[in-house]
């Protein structure tokens, strides 16, 4: 795992000291809120509905056990004993006090973490495939590139005042788990003539104008990647609109100028700046790569299958079915720990649970943890023979929900329970849908399903790319929930289609229930997933399920 360089340490220490002084000056009245607000946002500190919120970056979603324990300590000591993991591989603390934030930032710096560039018009936390470095299907670990990008973009003098925020996601696998087509830049590792490089996708994004990213270059060799990215961001920096916040993201720049125009400008810029890089970036990348060397996997001589393990309770079997993914090393598995126990708040983990996860990672997982954009925790390297013990340990921490990829594995943004921008709540809707389907015992019958909920048009909950998306809005003074269908966050990313008028807070769960009970009738057989059935049949039959009155009236 990447270890901070001396430069990193000094930079972070300086920023903590600066912020400590800024908070002191705010509290003694020498800074006004107008002066202070941009400073606190630069350090990830928002003011939400009921309290401040501190957003801490988890670069490319990677944590070690020491960092996880520190997050638990922070949650307990300065917050209310829990943290909220987000779709951008950040953790948010919902209740810090202003005067405690400098100490919290120091505690983060102690374990090589920070909250810088988690806000503002900068390059934000670089996200990556949460199975990076472990997945059986990946070409190579994308995290060294993500770390290179983090170093290049952190405090980059030219990119501190971009037209708007800028989000980059990286994957090393053709099975896109990083939603690269919904980012300002998405990078997909590919190979050409034996050479490693990336497909560069630009102009994706969700929010009020959702767009699927377009391929800017099908192949940029690894050696050229950083100058190429620099060319993209500086082209955007010049060309991006600053007159209208809603038209400022690169998705609009691309849309308005056309991908060809962007491509020409990027290539001209690239030709100009490439020489300036002079290979220093590649030397740096080599150093970084060494720090991401895979752990020393224990070769297990007997091909022990977890299936032959003694602790074969039905609960364990069910968990194996849903929460385990293929690892690149024989004898190993990737474990997804669900933070979506029905009724729980999606993405929340208590301090005790964080410590349990740290402990399990240390004992059974080569000390590695990942946070997924789906708001779950990943143990990327677990020996299959250890799975029964890992399951037991997770169970003791109330973390053994066997529902990865099923309907109760819902992405939900904080919504109006916390977020100052929200137009409706999202957490209670997620809780009710999950508990309802648990009660119906239909979750496994319904099978693979991505349900995603946002509490406003900003789409932090990725509702546009949910197989079923729910968007919370206000209508005539009450909460109203709009359903979109057919979205997809995978390699063939797609924006969902609005199904029709919104549902009231007490109608949304029954509507989802009708929709899915109806799907069970509509599908060809058990193997046809909700998304596949939708693609085969189109919107009409699903719309009829959602709005039975309309059909009767017609």
């Amino acid at each position: 795992m990447y270890q901070y360089s001396r430069f990193d340490h000094e930079f972070i220490a300086e920023r903590v000291a600066q912020f400590r002084a800024q908070v002191a000056r705010r509290l003694d009245g020498s800074l006004t809120e107008d002066e202070f607000k941009p400073l606190r946002l630069m350090n990830g500190l928002y003011l939400q509905l009921h309290a401040y919120m501190l957003r801490v970056a988890i670069p490319y979603g990677t944590l070690n056990s020491r960092q996880m324990r520190q997050l638990a300590m922070i949650a307990e000591r300065w917050d209310k004993g829990y943290g909220h993991f987000t779709t951008r591989q950040n953790i948010q603390f919902n209740w810090p006090k202003l005067e405690d934030v400098p100490v919290i930032l120091q505690a983060l710096a102690d374990v090589e973490m920070h909250a810088i560039q988690t806000s503002g018009n900068t390059v934000r936390n670089v996200t990556a495939d949460h199975f990076a470095g472990a997945a059986a299907d990946e070409l190579a670990d994308p995290r060294p590139i993500a770390e290179l990008i983090r170093q290049w973009s952190t405090d980059h003098p030219e990119f501190q005042f971009l037209p708007r925020k800028f989000k980059i996601a990286v994957t090393g696998s053709p099975n896109d788990r990083a939603v690269t087509r919904a980012h300002d830049i998405g990078l997909r590792m590919t190979k050409q003539d034996g050479l490693r490089g990336f497909e560069v996708i630009v102009g994706g994004g969700l929010g009020r104008t959702p767009m699927i990213g377009k391929t800017l270059s099908p192949f940029v060799p690894l050696d050229d990647l950083l100058p190429y990215l620099e060319a993209v961001v500086s082209t955007y920096n010049l060309l991006g609109r600053r007159d209208n916040k809603y038209k400022a993201r690169i998705k609009i720049t691309t849309h308005e100028n056309g991908i060809e125009e962007i491509k020409q400008r990027v290539e001209a810029q690239f030709a100009k700046i490439k020489l300036r890089f002079a290979g220093a970036d590649l030397q740096l990348l080599k150093d970084i790569e060494q720090q991401f060397a895979p752990p020393k996997f224990r070769a297990s001589s007997e091909p022990v299958e977890a299936d032959s393990a003694p602790a074969q309770s039905p609960a364990f079997r069910a968990w194996l079915d849903t929460n385990i993914s293929a690892h690149k090393t024989p004898g190993y598995a990737i474990v997804s720990v669900s933070l979506k126990k029905p009724g729980a708040t999606p993405g929340d983990a208590s301090a005790d649970q964080m410590r349990a996860l740290a402990e399990i990672a240390r004992n059974f997982g080569h000390d590695e943890l990942r946070i997924s954009h789906e708001q779950n925790v990943i143990l990327p390297h677990v020996l299959r023979t250890d799975l029964p013990q890992v399951f037991q340990a997770l169970r003791q921490a109330d973390l053994a929900a066997a529902n990865i990829g099923l309907i109760s594995d819902i992405i939900a943004c904080p919504g109006m329970d916390y977020c100052a921008l929200a137009t409706a709540r999202s957490i209670p809707v997620a809780q009710q849908i999950a508990t309802r389907f648990q009660a119906l015992k239909l979750e496994h019958d319904v099978g693979p399903l991505k349900l995603k909920i946002s509490g406003c048009i900003n789409a932090c909950g990725h509702h546009h790319v949910g197989h079923i998306g729910i968007l919370g809005l206000e209508k005539a003074g009450v909460e109203s929930y709009q359903i979109t269908l057919g979205g997809d966050a995978g390699a063939e990313a797609e924006i969902g289609t609005r199904a029709g008028p919104g549902f009231g807070a007490d109608e949304i769960v029954p509507a989802i229930e009708r929709l899915l009970l109806g799907y069970l009738q509509l599908r060809l057989d058990r193997n046809e997933s909700f998304l596949e059935a939708y693609r085969r049949l189109g919107l009409a039959p699903f719309k009829a399920l959602l709005y039975p009155q309309a059909r009767k009236a017609a």
Binding site: G29, Q48, L49, D417
Partner: protein, 98 residues
């Protein structure tokens, strides 16, 4: 049922904790909406807001919020303000801990 007038309170967040606060005449802040002073006069509303904005070392982001004036104190008229006056629905945190 009697007609309830639309009335206003001044609300803001506490500078130190971020907690939702309400102005209580003459010069104090209360975390309880029920104890907030209800303002029914436009000039008084303006003056009260100006007073709140003149306390940058105590509160942040002051604004006027519509309430329904009930006998047991003001109630939020919009659901967002209702959530602000109670706290999140997933945990008994914030004001619900009191």
């Amino acid at each position: 049922m009697s007609v309830t007038a639309i009335s206003k309170v001044v609300t803001a967040n506490d500078l130190r904790s971020g907690e939702v606060l309400y102005l209580r005449f003459p010069h104090s802040w209360t975390p309880e909406l029920a104890r907030a002073s209800v303002i029914k006069d436009n000039d008084l509303a303006k003056a009260s807001l100006a007073f709140a904005q003149g306390q940058p070392n105590a509160v942040v982001g002051a604004y006027l919020s519509d309430v329904i004036d009930k006998s047991d104190g003001p109630k939020a008229s919009h659901f967002r303000e209702r959530f602000r006056s109670t706290g999140p629905s997933n945990y008994r945190h914030g004001k619900q801990e009191l």
